[in-house]
């Protein structure tokens, strides 16, 4: 879906353009109408003025007192014309020169108006009036050139259009500013969601605009519920582990103790079963514990958690005194659940420490996937078995004791995060090498930077 901001922006701009266009048309039409109406009423006055100067002598000849007529009717092609007919007598203004106005006989009291082409490319508004004077019917036709008025109207239209466009632009800018301001709270929530994904925050700020508050509250509520549910199920699984391990520990101690009293095959069988139950419970519980993607509980930090994990391994393997080299970029905190990552690295490093003679190397890089490489200088594994190691996690009953068990848990975790686990022989140290690749791009990079 397109962003709300651009949707609102486009909508408002389009409706403003429509409103201004309609306004421009209405105003132009009205101005034209008013101007012509004004000219027409002046022409009617002129016609009445002309009528007052007309007289018929006793023989019925048409005469006119030209001294009282406006000078504009005397100047040739001035744009103001008259033409008077009575029976077969005609009189026309001097301004018409040798031209004639097309005129019709109009009955007394009637009025006809039309447009005609005049001299000099003039467009004339022509009004003919019918009168009766001294008992003689006559029609007085007056005309005026519309071109000067039209020119003014066109000028007005241009000015009006320019003003309208400037105002339109101002309004668009103004509404964009208003929109951006109102959307600010949305972008704040967007930022909060990001820090939520990266595990920097575990709640959204409830101080959201009224329209969004139910959404924010609901998200916060879900976060709390998810956190509680994960915590509860992890606690329950821990308790279950505890409950199962107790009898297993006892059976193990009893088989250890009665090694010589029991028949060898019976004892071996018991030991095998105990080990298997133990590993199955461990594996299933660990898989069930995984938080996986999209949860906002504590995130793993290479800066804080990795040194502690290595210290732990140093203590567990204190009889070996393994030297380790750890490389990770400054800002390498990853959006992966802390407990999941500790379990993943713990199992892999445990394996490395178990087989290493003197050295274990850990290299972390972000490019842009998270890659972790763990190498040791132990005996390594036959390259033909690498594939088999990876597949160990596929079916539980293939998981055999000891070596590889930690690897299958690691592969469960990596699969949960849709990453890959690659086994090979270390070039630098000569032992076993594990490469983990975890896609974190979507969560790690700010979507704005894309």
């Amino acid at each position: 879906m397109r962003s709300l901001q651009s949707k609102l922006g486009y909508g408002l701009t389009l409706s403003l353009i429509a409103v201004f266009t309609v306004l421009w048309f209405l105003v132009s039409l009205n101005i034209q109408y008013l101007a012509e109406e004004y000219i027409a009423s002046r022409l009617r006055h002129d016609a009445e003025m002309l009528l007052s100067t007309i007289h018929f002598d006793k023989a019925g000849n048409l005469g006119m007192d030209e001294s009282t007529i406006d000078l504009v009717y005397s100047k040739p092609f001035s744009g103001h014309y008259y033409f008077i007919t009575s029976g077969n007598q005609t009189m026309s203004s001097r301004s018409l020169w040798d031209q004639q106005l097309g005129s019709v006989l109009v009955k007394a009291g009637d009025q006809i108006s039309n447009y005609q082409d005049g001299p000099d490319n003039q467009l004339l508004l022509v009004i003919s009036n019918g009168f009766i004077k001294q008992g003689y019917p006559l029609s007085v036709t007056v005309a005026e050139d519309l071109n000067p008025v039209k020119r003014n109207i066109r000028q007005f239209q241009t000015r009006f259009a320019i003003t309208a466009i400037v105002m339109l632009l101002l309004l668009v800018v103004l509404q964009a500013l208003i929109l951006r301001h109102s959307m600010k709270s949305l972008s704040r929530i967007h930022e909060e969601l990001q820090s939520l994904q990266q595990g920097e925050a575990n709640q959204l700020n409830a101080d959201a605009p009224t329209e969004l508050r139910p959404l924010v509250n609901e998200i916060n509520h879900l976060l709390v519920v998810m956190e509680q549910r994960l915590r509860r199920s992890r606690d329950a699984l821990g308790d279950l582990a505890h409950a199962v391990k107790r009898p297993l520990t006892i059976i193990q101690q009893l088989t250890d103790k009665n090694r010589n009293a029991l028949p060898a095959d019976l004892n071996a069988g018991l030991v095998r079963q105990v080990t298997e139950i133990n590993q199955l419970t461990d594996r299933i519980l660990k898989r069930a514990r995984l938080a996986g993607h999209g949860h906002s509980s504590a995130r793993f930090s290479f800066l804080h958690d990795l040194p502690q994990l290595i210290e732990t391994l140093d203590i567990i393997y204190n009889d070996k005194s393994i030297a380790n080299q750890v490389d990770f970029p400054e800002e390498a905190n990853c959006p992966i659940d802390r407990e999941d990552m500790l379990e993943l690295l713990g199992n892999l490093l445990d394996n490395a420490y178990k087989w290493a003679n003197k050295r274990v190397n850990i290299t972390v890089a972000i490019n842009p996937e998270l890659t972790i490489c763990i190498e040791d200088d132990g005996p390594g594994t036959d390259p033909n078995r690498f594939e088999q190691l990876d597949k160990r996690g596929v079916r539980l009953d293939e998981t055999k004791k000891g070596y590889g068990f930690g690897l299958s848990i690691a592969s469960d975790i990596v699969r949960e995060y849709s990453g890959t686990l690659l086994f090979s022989t270390s070039n630098t140290l000569g032992g076993f090498r594990v490469d983990i690749t975890l896609p974190i791009e979507g969560v790690f990079i700010n979507p704005k930077d894309k």
Binding site: G238, A241, H242, V244, K245, R246, L248, T249, I250, I251, Q252, Q253, L254, D256, K257, V274, N278, D282, K286, R289, D305, Q308, L309, E311, T312, I315, I316, N318, D319, R338, E339, L342, E343, L345, G346, N347
Partner: protein, 220 residues
């Protein structure tokens, strides 16, 4: 060596206690967190085996409280929850070693020995002081003349304690505290009897008597 076993599973305690005693530890048991914390603060223990899933107060809390009080008792943590974050958590609050359940007693014993050697700055697999070698697994001692002697339970405990604290003045009551558990009959005169027996084995020079103070094991 006096050992505090904080574990609430009585079946496991019954087995472990016997094994630990055979291995030369004087074992006291606490079956809940509050007792465990209280006992651990008595300065008589050399090492503690602490189950994290204790009732009434969990192991992490007990360990945290000990360390907060400046109690540096070496602790091996036992837990059924084999999650790595818990191991990291346990060692962060001050555990010295870690063992996941279920485990073999041999592994626990090996870890305890290694931990005790580490805390008394005696690295290496065997205790070796002034050309004398103590085999902690077989509980016998090879003296300067190259002869190997089998030790009785109490002799072994006493000698091991002396060897782990060379050059220090050890009073009779301290020695009784560290080689007998709380249910034993503590007669400090019996220490004199055992010291005499050890001197007979290794010569008089090894253990010096400081009148009114106690004994010193010479480390040179």
């Amino acid at each position: 060596m006096r050992l505090l076993l904080a574990e609430d599973d009585l079946d496991l305690v019954a087995i472990l206690k016997k094994d630990l005693e055979t291995a030369g530890y004087a074992v006291d048991v606490a079956d809940n967190g509050i007792d465990a914390e209280y006992l651990g603060n008595e300065a008589i223990y050399d090492v503690a085996v602490l189950d994290l899933g204790l009732p009434r107060r969990n192991g992490i809390e007990v360990l945290n409280n000990w360390r907060a009080k400046g109690n540096n008792l070496p602790v091996v943590v036992l837990t059924a929850r084999n999650a790595w974050h818990e191991r990291v958590e346990g060692l962060k609050v001050g555990a010295d070693d870690y063992l996941g359940k279920p485990f073999h007693v041999e592994e626990l014993l090996a870890r305890l020995t290694a931990l005790l050697h580490r805390t008394s700055q005696q690295p290496g697999g065997t205790l070796r002081v002034c050309n004398m070698v103590l085999d902690e697994e077989r509980q016998n001692v090879t003296t300067t003349d190259g002869l190997s002697h089998k030790l009785t339970g109490t002799e072994f405990r006493l000698l091991r304690y002396l060897l782990l604290h060379p050059g220090k003045v050890l009073s009779k009551s301290e020695l009784t505290d560290h080689i007998y558990d709380q249910d034993s009959d503590k007669d400090s005169n019996i220490i004199e009897v055992y010291i005499r027996r050890l001197r007979k084995l290794m010569g008089n020079d090894c253990i010096e008597t400081r009148r009114g103070q106690g004994y010193v094991f010479r480390d040179h």
